[in-house]
């Protein structure tokens, strides 16, 4: 059974689509808005902004997060900045250029119309955030300051020191808290969504677990918005927060929502290398560091000298050598792969040999230590805290790590999935970044979705559909609650010999090894054999201590890892079917003569949207063709 994937892209010229669509969408009258309950899961940039804005419009909003406060959502960890086509620097930027850079950066695997709208809204985001009091960096004259970022040749990135995500999230959080105080939003912290309830083909609510008491509860509404972030934790070691998970979108997938491009995962080139087996997470060093740091390794394999002792002519500044026009600012997928390549050649640095140098010596010489400190002081401190090395003196060691997932639930132009009423925003959807996301674009997308798109499109859905009155006593809710309770009890009753964490680690290794920075047919087939075996062992031998009527962090983790064990398989399946290379998805079988990713536009210019087909059955692949009316598909080149 395939589903019809209709993207609902408005007709007309690219630049007028969104404006036209906004006029054509039906409106909910102000008096009627408060009669609609909208459920928002997730309180990061996409969820928090959506919840606050929809409450401002007058809707009755219920917002859920698993953390103890909406302010903790992982958007907070974004360091570098947010793009906007303001052209404040007069360096030739425009909405069209941001659109084109983003589309090209995504290796032409996203929709023109969505990406154009994103670029179009980018300026409004900055205006809105400044009005909220976000302290973006400024020049002495009082104007906003910009910096450049990977994949772009203009300076369009707005930033607040190395804490841009934090400041943007706090802006959204404060707006959200204002609405909570006003009564427009009811906030449910420490509450995790465990199932989606679909009645008569429409998403009508969710089943949640109160993480403090363990109570399983239902919440009904007229529409559901999932803003639950990405699934990079499927790799176990990633830059995501410990709690970041795919459970909400995975449950929705199992209730019929199509999962698009799951194999499009981003490996970020500048993270602190792994130091041991016990490690629980990888820490990102902002991409902005590549503005002033030079990436290099020794020309000689196995060179164990102190980096400061290696003379200039024995160093290989490989990004500058291979990509002279972008140099150290090559996009993330390319920089990551290049790092892997030199490490595979045995030229990696550090104890494990899995690392490259990011060196600031030249810039410190040119601009002085104080300038570098002003720009990156907090990042340098963080690096020193973690590694015990002083990056002012010794080059940083960095290595790629799983960071972001471009794939996610399939959505149309209105950000609605193929399940009516189920909307998906931010990283949780697949929409705007194609096969690779450019730096400083995630914050832009989360806020565009949350502040400007979903508050408009949700009204259209509510008016266009006849929604029967449904409350949480409906049989469908009771059935879903029973399933959730049954699953919870199953975790607790296995009482096996392995911890949840050990399964997560093992899954992560399989994913990283066979479905990480480069992928091939044989490896993916191996992973597709190993993952089900591991899943089977999990359900036989996992040990989840404690009970279900209390705060039980092992139980929470068990549910998340169980879902990763299923999602991992889908990722590999998608990666196996897409035999082209594009963006973050590099198939060794498909590369140019000099080792660059080779796209196959003839056969793969589509969105792969996978449909759940039932327990033990292979998911069904639906294809949404990508139509490019405005740009010419070109081989991506950053040389």
């Amino acid at each position: 059974m395939t589903v019809q994937l209709e993207a609902h892209i408005p007709s007309g010229p690219l630049a007028q689509k969104w404006g036209k669509h906004r006029f054509e969408m039906k409106l909910v009258s102000p008096a009627n808005k408060r009669k609609h309950t909208i459920i928002v899961v997730g309180s990061g940039l996409a969820g928090g902004a959506a919840a606050a804005t929809m409450s401002e419009l007058g809707y009755n909003v219920k917002c859920f997060c698993f953390q103890d406060s909406p302010r903790r959502a992982h958007s907070i960890a974004a360091q570098g900045g947010i793009n906007a086509a303001k052209n404040y620097q007069n360096d030739g930027d425009s909405i069209y250029r941001l659109f084109y850079d983003t589309l090209k950066g995504g290796d032409f695997r996203s929709r023109e119309a969505n990406v154009y709208r994103l670029a179009e809204l980018s300026g409004n985001i900055i205006d809105q955030c400044v009005a909220q009091g976000v302290p973006f960096a400024r020049e002495y004259g009082g104007l906003l300051s910009n910096r450049s970022f990977g994949g772009a040749q203009v300076s369009r990135t707005f930033y607040a020191r190395g804490q841009t995500g934090q400041q943007l999230l706090l802006g959204a959080y404060q707006a959200l808290e204002r609405q909570i105080a006003r009564g427009g939003v009811t906030m449910y912290p420490r509450t995790e969504m465990l199932d989606l309830v679909v009645i008569d083909g429409k998403a009508r609510g969710i089943v949640v677990r109160d993480l403090v008491t363990g109570a399983i509860e239902s919440h009904a509404g007229e529409a559901v918005v999932l803003a639950t972030g990405g699934y990079a934790n499927v790799f176990h070691l990633s830059t995501n927060a410990q709690g970041s998970n795919a459970t909400a979108i995975w449950r929705a997938y199992k209730r019929g929502a199509a999962f698009a491009n799951p194999c499009f995962t981003q490996i970020h080139p500048t993270c602190i290398p792994v130091s041991g087996e016990y490690q629980s997470k990888l820490t990102l060093m902002s991409e902005s560091l590549r503005n002033d740091g030079r990436v290099w390794v020794s020309k000689e394999p196995g060179d164990k000298r102190d980096p400061r002792q290696i003379p200039e002519n024995e160093r290989d500044y490989y990004l500058e050598r291979k990509y002279p026009s972008f140099g150290n600012l090559a996009p993330r997928d390319i920089a990551s792969r290049a790092a892997k390549e030199v490490c595979d050649e045995g030229r990696g640095v550090g104890e494990s040999g899995l690392g490259v140098y990011l060196d600031f010596a030249d810039t410190i010489k040119r601009l002085g230590r104080d300038v570098i400190k002003e720009r990156y002081g907090n990042l340098f401190e963080m690096y020193e805290r973690i590694t015990d090395e002083d990056p002012y003196e010794v080059p940083m060691r960095i290595y790629p790590a799983a960071h972001y997932t471009m794939g996610g639930l399939w959505v149309d132009y209105n950000l609605m999935s193929n399940v009516d009423g189920l909307h998906v925003t931010g990283e949780a959807n697949f929409s705007d970044h194609g096969a690779n996301r450019l730096g400083a674009s995630a914050l832009m997308q989360g806020l565009a979705d949350g502040y400007f798109i979903i508050p408009n499109t949700i009204g259209h859905y509510l008016v266009s559909n006849k929604l029967e009155k449904v409350d949480a006593s409906h049989a469908a809710f009771k059935a879903a609650e029973a399933e959730v309770a049954e699953r919870t009890n199953r975790f607790l009753s296995i009482k096996g010999k392995r911890t949840v964490a050990s399964f997560h680690r093992e899954l992560g290794k399989i994913m990283w090894h066979y479905c990480g920075m480069s992928r091939n047919d044989a490896g993916l087939r191996t992973a597709l054999k190993k993952i089900p075996e591991l899943r089977e062992e999990f359900w036989r031998d996992v040990n989840v201590p404690g009970s279900d009527v209390e705060l039980n962090q092992a139980l929470e983790k068990a549910g998340r890892v169980a879902d990763f064990l299923e999602l991992g398989e889908l990722i590999c399946l998608d990666a196996l079917h897409r035999t082209e290379s594009c963006g973050g998805h590099f198939r060794e079988e498909s590369q140019t003569a000099d080792g660059e990713a080779l796209r196959d536009d003839e056969n793969f210019a589509y969105v792969a949207a996978w449909q759940y087909a039932g327990e033990g059955r292979s998911p069904v692949l639906n294809k949404e063709p990508l139509v490019f009316e405005n740009v010419k598909l070109s081989q991506r080149s950053y040389k």
Binding site: A52, D68, A131, R138, K281, L284, I386, L551, Q553
Partner: protein, 250 residues
């Protein structure tokens, strides 16, 4: 490294708690403090005991979810560092480490080391925002903001809301948390219309949540992982006095 841990265990919000001693063996100095606790918890799980509950999420010092009073110091011995970024190289082999939850009446214990900090959210709800509904904002460069103002605002805005200031304060006062937000917004031109109203509402809410008063020991400033200055408290008091005695009109 081998360590002796004294950890606060409390089964639930109303259950009695006590310090329990655990041995932590085979700890690498490169582990973070929370990774050390992960290792202890894996051991407890395999021995059939209930692992220690503690809050954490991003593990890169920005989300503010981690806490812990470590050897009597909020977020442990390293200055300007949240617990998740504290590494075991700050300790010696054979050390004894006391681990307790944040203690304040306004932060009831949920379980073991996890506490409920929703009081801080309610302080923000009371006024920790600029009223600027989405849409219709003027161009971001229309209002010039001096670099000094925005830098000062950013220093205060760096607050991660972890509650270490409350935990470290001998009076369990939330003054630094509250003052940081008042300072962040009060230093920006966009924050001026609500400046005095904000100070009144937030300070009143802080009282309602039963935090203690500020006696300017300066413990909060020492404990703060973002090293926010108690200068912000002076500013909070100034805005509060002005708002209460003269009025909230800017």
């Amino acid at each position: 490294m081998n360590l002796t841990l004294h950890v606060w265990r409390q089964a639930g919000p109303r259950a009695p708690g006590k310090m329990v001693v655990y041995k932590a063996g085979d700890i690498s100095p490169d582990m973070s403090f929370l990774e050390m606790l992960d290792v202890v918890n894996e051991g407890l799980t395999l021995r059939g005991e209930v692992p220690i509950a503690f809050d954490h999420d991003c593990r890169e010092g920005i989300c503010g979810m981690c806490s812990l009073m470590i050897n009597g110091i909020a977020h442990g011995p390293m200055k300007g560092t949240a617990t998740c970024q504290l590494h075991m190289r700050s300790f010696k082999d054979g050390d004894t480490i006391y681990i307790e939850p944040w203690r304040a009446g306004a932060f009831p214990v949920i379980k073991d080391l996890a506490v409920d900090r929703s009081a801080l959210d309610r302080i923000i709800q009371a006024g920790g925002f600029i009223t600027a509904a989405t849409g219709g904002a003027q161009d971001a460069n229309a209002v010039l903001v001096p670099k000094e103002s925005v830098d000062g605002a950013m220093d205060a805005a760096a607050c991660i809301g972890c509650g270490a200031c409350v935990a470290a304060c001998p009076n369990a006062s939330a003054s630094l948390f509250t003052a940081a937000k008042i300072t962040h917004l009060g230093l920006l031109p966009q924050g001026q219309p609500e400046r005095y109203r904000r100070a009144l509402e937030m300070v009143d809410q802080m009282d309602l949540e039963n935090f203690g008063s500020c006696t300017l020991h300066g413990e909060c400033q020492e404990a703060c992982p973002k090293e926010i200055s108690i200068d912000t408290i002076t500013r909070m008091n100034r805005d509060f006095i002005r708002g209460r005695l003269i009025g909230t009109r800017p």
